[in-house]
Symmetry: C2
């Protein structure tokens, strides 16, 4: 049976299995989901066993477990390490979901659930592609290893140490990751760059208690005023980041890179309309793909302080908080960046406010040369299935572990994404377009056979 | 029996009754407390009946009920209308309360509960003072009316209409209100001014969904960035409000007013230490009492948007919110002020952000001449009980209805406060110092007898 018929025949069964996977609320950031994390890891291990992997191991870590599997019966052939993650982002604001995030629902050819595309859906494709090859051919065209973690959404704190300890076990010729996107429907892409990431939390405290805005208003510091003044100082009126030294290590965009970006023929107006925006926004002198692919950011992800309930409360809040992440490019150093931001905040903190800065995640940006043969083989596989050759892009997101894989295992990393850019990753109503579910399975099979 | 002995004898019983009153969570701002509001109104009505008032009525309104009572058997004597409110502020952040807000607890001579001082505790003093006069003398030295509402903390939306409809019923020679503070322990004060108030809510919307900060970060507007930029534009770096025309109607401080303020000998350093502040803060060229008594404010009471949970969420929020109140002085017009702020916000809203401004409460400032005889009589009553004459002050808070009382009933308003400035009004651990519970009862009796 050809692979198209094979996958068609098993489509309902595969979707039912994926739905089952998606019902597990494996939110790595929230400690109350500890048990769900174990359940999701066990689910992945079970499916790898059913697929025919020889060895399947669930490794406990100080955080969430890592699932490892191998099938090494192709002597003389390359080894492929498939990476993915079974953890998902938090789901709030919950009221904006049309169907509950952990009750997977298919509507209009799309599968809606938290993790549908990031990354449970895409990870699932690899398990089913390997299973298909084994069932159809009785063997695999290459040696295959899986390394599936549960901490990608919290910056993979356990995986680097696991990688170092198990360097030999994980040794490979190529790492394959499906956690990125096509350019748009029908336009495949292979990401050759990822932005780095660093995160921090900022807390302002003023008085030792909330105060009445009548009795004290105008005479004491207000934690929200101090925080807003401080946060506003981080960008100038053109949206450029004002932190001293922030842009150190950011490469200037060469004419060649601008040309590569321009090849995507990205439709900014279409995006603007799709997102219901009056205007896109960003650094002057750059297009949207350049801004998101090759420029760093300093972004407020959450700000809160004072009264949030119904009605009015005439209070001067004693504390206020902000959550910030930066996307990094080129050789920007996440540790130095966090230090620079902290120094900026401490220099600018207004009179009467006490500042606490808590640094968080740290990951460098990653870049690969598109001319590498394994990337060209991946582009061939896409062309076979999609009828159009994959473009080489830079992805604005961060998969902090990619840079570590490439460094520790000294192997090229192929980012074969099957998501779409508008599938609400990290937002309400995340979904996975099933056209790419079908084509993804075939593309992975084609890639493994061509290696 | 003299009144000191009388109140001493009944002290435990009175405190038990007040505690009972304080267990009712009558938060007017939250619609879920509708039933508690009725219960609190009925409690007040019952206690007025027990005190010996002839007529006691509970008037339904479109909001929360108004309790009216009268005892008019002193022909030829003046009529006193006692105003108070049985509603209280919301209680969050709840985790900062040492004992639950609606489980009144006495610790170190202070009664802790939401509403202990603002205004259930102070209102209760008047009921018990009138009861004492009737029991001890068999009659009242003046004609007494009570008008007790349940919407003071939400700016009294129903009372002005009630006042107009019942102008004759409420007709009086003097209005007495106990909803303000002594200057400090042992230093009584009569407030001859209150700041006005206006409130608004600000909402920013950018995209139609929350977005992934990797895929979109740097290329689309972030609702929090837009809100922070907008809010930061409301003050200059000296803390002055930058809204055009905002200071119209704000009187310059005369040398005489500055002298009156200086009489308070307010200890700014003591306040700063008490509040755990590194520094007080406010407009240059003014003292703390001038800033809070005679200068307007534009204050953030709440700001929120994006992720507030544990850990990191790499999200670009699609919406962000702020709650703002202004304290007004002199002849500042609350309606015009709201219009000016709205115009400023609409002028400064950043590219790509949609702005919604929702105006709320509106109340003018109030001022009285300290030389008025009824204020002098009140000062005499304080002197009799506290051994020191009350100072005439300006209060930074707003009791929006005071200006309405004075205008509609054409009567002087005596603000005889028995709270203390550090009793955590509107904040966690609100309390009432029982020294002023005891002295307050005696002062009210002395005042009514002297009129």
């Amino acid at each position: 049976m050809n692979y198209e018929s094979y996958f068609q025949q098993l489509r309902e069964q595969h979707l039912e299995q994926l739905k089952q996977f998606l019902t597990i609320p494996s939110i790595s950031a929230l400690s109350e989901h500890k048990q769900d994390m174990n359940e999701a890891a066990q689910w992945v291990a079970q499916k790898l066993k059913e697929a025919g992997m020889d060895i399947v191991e669930v490794h406990p870590t100080s955080g969430h477990p890592i699932v490892y599997a191998e099938h090494l019966h192709a002597p003389g052939k390359p080894t492929v390490l498939i990476y993915g993650h079974y953890d998902v982002q938090p789901v709030d604001p919950l009221h904006l979901w049309e169907t509950p995030p952990f009750e997977p629902t298919i509507r209009g050819g799309k599968l809606y659930a938290r993790g549908a595309t990031d990354d449970k859906g895409q990870l699932f494709l690899h398990i089913k592609a390997v299973e298909a090859l084994l069932r159809q051919e009785g063997e695999l065209p290459v040696n295959v290893k899986f390394c599936i973690e549960g901490e990608e959404e919290i910056s993979s704190p356990s995986l680097p140490a696991f990688m170092k300890t198990n360097e030999e076990k994980l040794a490979t010729d190529v790492v394959v990751i499906s956690d990125t996107s096509l350019l748009e429907k029908g336009k495949p892409a292979i990401s050759t760059g990822l932005r780095g990431l660093c995160s921090l939390e900022v807390a302002i405290q003023t008085a030792n208690t909330d105060l009445h805005s009548g009795t004290y208003g105008g005479g004491v510091p207000n934690a929200l005023h101090a925080l807003i003044e401080l946060l506003a100082s981080l960008h100038d009126d053109k949206g450029r980041i004002t932190v001293e030294g922030f842009y150190e290590g950011v490469p200037e965009l060469s004419a060649a890179m601008r040309e590569e970006f321009a090849k995507q023929q990205f439709n900014e107006e279409k995006l603007q309309n799709h997102l219901g925006l009056d205007a896109l926004y960003g650094e002057e002198g750059y297009t949207f793909v350049e801004r998101t692919g090759a420029r760093p950011t300093l972004e407020l992800n959450g700000v809160y302080g004072g009264f949030q309930g119904e009605g009015t409360k005439t209070v001067i809040p004693k504390e206020a908080h902000a959550k910030i992440t930066c996307r990094l490019v080129g050789s920007q150093d996440p540790v130095a960046t966090l230090e620079r931001i902290s120094a900026h905040l401490h220099t600018h903190v207004p009179t009467g406010a006490k500042l606490t800065v808590t640094p968080g995640e740290k990951a460098r940006a990653f870049n690969m040369d598109p001319s590498h043969p394994v990337l060209q083989t991946a582009a061939d596989a896409y062309e076979e299935v999609y009828g159009t050759r994959a473009l080489f892009t830079k992805d604005g997101g961060s998969i902090p572990i990619v840079e570590t894989f490439s460094r520790v295992l000294s192997a090229p990393v192929v980012m074969m994404g099957f998501g779409l850019p508008d599938e609400n990753l990290h937002a309400p109503n995340e979904h996975f377009n099933l056209e790419n579910f079908d084509k993804g399975l075939l593309t992975i099979v084609a890639f493994l056979k061509r290696l």
